[in-house]
Structures are given as C-alpha cells and as structure tokens.
Symmetry: C2
Subunit: 300 residues, 2 copies
C-alpha cells in the first residue's frame, strides 16, 4: 500500500480526514512531518526550515479559510546545536508573525535524521472543503506557481558548482520561504465553493478537487501565473509550464468560486488571484488547453 492508498484508507476510517485540515468544534487542525532527506535540500538554512515547516501547516489552515490560532513543532535531530535550534525557532516564529499568529514551541527529540513535525491550529465557523465546486464556477489560484521548483534548481546548482556560490544558496532559501495565504484564504472563504492548497502541485490539486467535488475542469495554460524564477531556471516555456503545474510545494490556494464573486475577492485579497479556467459538469474530464491533464505531481 503506498501513501495515497493509505490516505484513502484513513479517509474511509475517519470522516474528518480528506480535507487539508481536520475540523472539530470550530477548530481546524493539521499536522505534517518533514525530513531532511526528502524536504530540506542541502543548503536549506535552519531558519528557512523553521519557516517552511510551520508555513506548510499554516497553508493547510489557510486552505480551510480559517484564521490561524497557533503553531507548534516537534524538532528531532542527531544533536542540538544552539545556533541551529535558535535559527529554526526564529524562522518558525517569523512565519507565524507574518500571518498574525503565534509559534508556541513544541518538543525536542534525539533522532538520527533531522525531522520536524509541525501542527497548526486555526478557527473558523464555516470551513471551506474540497467538495463543493460547481459547474460554471471559475478556478483561481493565488500568487504564482513554481517558486519551490526554482528553489530546488538553485540548491542543486549551488551544491554542484565548483565554487560555493553564496548568492545561489541565498536565492534558493528566499524562494523556499513563502507567505502562507491565511489572509487571502479568509477572503476567498466567504465566496469559494471549494478550496485546497497547491502543495502537491496544481495538476494533482485539480484532480483532488475534482474527485471531492465530482466535477471536471478546463484549464488554460496561458492563464497560469508562473513565477518569474521558474523562467530563470527552465530551458523552454514548456518546461516552465511543466514545473509550475506539477512540481508542487508552492502552498498557494486553488479555489473555485462563482464568476460574479471575482471582483470583490480580488479587491479584498492581499495577493493577485488569477483565473486559470472553469469548472465543468460531473462527467467531464480535467483538461489543459483541451488535452487531458495527468494526475501527476508530488506525493508527500
């Protein structure tokens, strides 16, 4: 059984599972485990790791349309280096501050691989689910896609270059930190029919929304907001589109809403909200420029 099969099993077993966060009693709760080998490429500072790990959980809170209440982390490492730990805490605290919430600490543990589990909690009386997208709605994404893909390329270039290039590492770390879309999520929540974050990549997110909402999507590639950094690292426009669509780990919001709601949402949101296509009837498939869009992406 692979992780996706196990996750399906979990959602059969537990009614609350299957959205970006569990909802209980007016609270949303989400937890994520990250490992050095798979989630923090060589060159990732502990400050960036703290920011990104906590940010990933806050992104799930944003995807429910909730305000953030608190975040914690369990931090495991082979040894506890004072500066590394302080940097991690500062990154964690800074991303919390960015979205108006509080990092309240956690657990420390000895472990051979640097491993972090973050948990974020939010509040909402009316969570936005993955189900609810309705034919005729527009499909939107916040911000731009592909920053993490570009970051990874910069980390890679920095480690393989003969001379250590601090600017590459710095640029990669900058791209690797992101603003969880808590404020935009709350704005979208008032009108969105369905919402999730793009952590598994846009393509996979669309497939997950389609499965939960029982709908199809018609996406137009030239409306996808590709981050400038992706164009810096991609050899061709096709490669840039591919990275922005399937790489994932971008933590933007993908939402569906009635077209009539669009201008109000755009006016209130603190980031650009791009329309990338429309919601189709239940028996329709998921296409980009009329071609089937594969369920391809990053499975965490």
């Amino acid at each position: 059984m692979d992780e996706r099969a196990a996750l399906r099993l979990l959602s059969d077993e537990l009614a609350a599972v299957g959205d970006d966060a569990a909802v209980v009693d007016g609270l949303v709760v989400t937890t994520d485990m990250l490992h050095e080998r798979t989630d923090f490429p060589a060159g990732t500072t502990r400050y960036t790791a703290g920011w990104r790990a906590i940010g990933a959980s806050l992104s799930d809170v944003a995807a429910m349309g909730a305000e953030a209440t608190a975040a914690v982390a369990a931090y495991a490492a082979p040894r506890f280096d004072r500066d590394e730990l302080l940097e991690f805490i500062r990154g964690a605290a800074d991303v919390c501050e960015r979205v108006g919430t509080e990092y309240v600490g956690g657990d420390l543990d000895g472990h051979e691989e640097f491993t972090v589990t973050t948990t974020a909690i939010g509040r909402t009386d009316d969570p936005v689910r993955r189900r609810g997208a309705t034919a005729g709605d527009v499909v939107c994404v916040t911000g731009t896609l592909g920053r993490s893909a570009a970051a990874l390329e910069y980390f890679e270039r920095a480690t393989t270059s003969d001379t250590a290039d601090d600017r590459l590492v710095e640029r990669a770390n900058d791209l690797f930190r992101f603003a969880p879309r808590i404020p935009a999520g709350q704005v979208l929540a008032s009108r969105a029919t369905a919402m999730m974050d793009s952590s598994d990549g846009l393509a996979r997110s669309l497939h997950q929304l389609a499965e939960a909402s029982d709908c199809g999507f018609a996406i137009e590639s030239d409306r996808i907001p590709i981050d400038d950094s992706v164009r810096e690292v991609a050899a061709t426009d096709d490669e840039a589109l591919e990275l922005a669509t399937t790489f994932g780990e971008d933590f933007e919001l993908v939402a569906t809403l009635p077209e009539t709601a669009l201008s109000a949402v755009r006016e209130a949101a603190d980031v650009p909200v791009s329309v990338i296509g429309s919601v189709l009837e239940p028996d329709a498939s998921i296409t980009m420029d009329g071609e089937p869009l594969a369920d391809q992406g990053y499975t965490h």
Copy 2:
C-alpha cells in the same frame, strides 16, 4: 547541548513554553515525537502504539487541567501495512474515546524508522501551571506509579525467553496502555496550586515543580502508590520503590493543593488521589524519608 539544555533555551526564547502544554487563546496545545527504537519496545502492537502515543499528548492536556478537544498524529514508517495502520488508528481513536475526545487523523510519511508525532489540543479558561505550589500544600499523585517500568520488564522477558510467550507480550501491552487523566485533571484543576504529569518520573517531576514553584518537598516513600505490577517484577521493595519513583512514562498527575481541598477532590475524582508528602518553604530541598531525592529519571 543536551535536550534539557535545549529545552531550557526554548523556554527562555518562548514565554509560552515550560509547562506540559502551551497555552494560547483559551487553548492548550502539546506535541510529542516518539520513535520505535526508544519508545516502542519489541512486542508493542500498533494498537498499543497508537493508544500510547496519543495518550502521552492527552496526558499533557490533563496536566493543564483542560478538557480534551482533539488529537492528531503524523505516522511515519518504512512501508504502510494496511493492518498495522488500521490498528494504530484504532488504538488512537480508542484512547480518545476513553477521555471523551476525538481522533481526527493526521499525516502519513515514508521514513526508515517507525516514528509518530502526536498533537493534542484542549480547552480551559484557567490552566494549571507548574508554578504555584505553596508551603503547607499537600503533594498528590493520581492512580499508581510504575506500570511502564513493569511493562518494559515484561517486553524484555518475552523477547529473551526461549519460547515466545504471548501472555507476557499481552500483559506488557496492557500495562503500556494507560488512561490519560483528563477527568481527574479537571477535578484537580479547580483546587490545585501546581500540576504536571509524571512522564519523566516522579522524582524528576518533583524537581521540575520545585524549580517552577520555588519550593521544597518532603515525600514519604510508604505513601507512594506503587502499582502491583511493579512488585511482580521487582526483586526487592527497594527496587520496586526505585522503579515507581524514577522510571517515569506513567502519565499520572502530580499536583499540589491545600489540605482542606483534599476530600472534595477525592470525592469528585474518578481515580484514587494519594497524598505522598507536603510542600516546603523556598529554601528547603526535596527529600524522601528525610534523605535528598536525586533529580533522576527519564529525559525524553
């Protein structure tokens, strides 16, 4: 820097840290990471692992005197075996049900060592801290101490015996599951001046309470409620006392309260509440039967 030093650093850095759980906005939040090698001895079923991992976090909620709102787990393993995963979820769900809360799922992740991070959330308007113990108060513990020490001995005997003894393994698993003291914690909360759980062992818990409350303790060994299972595995009474006092991982509550509150607390609590000694003035030390009680126990 060892874990205790790092934890001290964390509590300097973050005002909210330093109790069993962080308190934010009427919520208490606590997170714990557990590993197969250090926390789940050979023979521990996944059902017991799920129960115990979630139970450990619920115990921290209990130690704050809060009601439990929800719990989640991030589950990492080299592979996802359907039965193992279901058993884990059932154990997690059952311990939540035992204390009237809900297991709402979590995250799955590939990792070479079976590793679980649990987070529990509770609510209280008036959390009980580790600071607040006052000279003249009595020191109490809920339930009995030493069950985990006995469990470990049974796990050990089962793996070293020539013939696999299922009854030993079953007994060990029984002892390894525990009822988080959520109801007793809420009863104690109304009158306790200070409280924490005994997960690091009674001796270390007393040192931590003393440090936070600036007090001493006079403990009487013959009043310590030693679990019957400890007497089964210990060769002598001294060994039984040692295991009950320093082994830890028992997840009982250690609380201080005015003697006048005792009968009301005992009447309302669903478990025995044993008086084991009294709180002394700030300049007094921590003694058992008049001898210094070492700060010895299990550091997680």
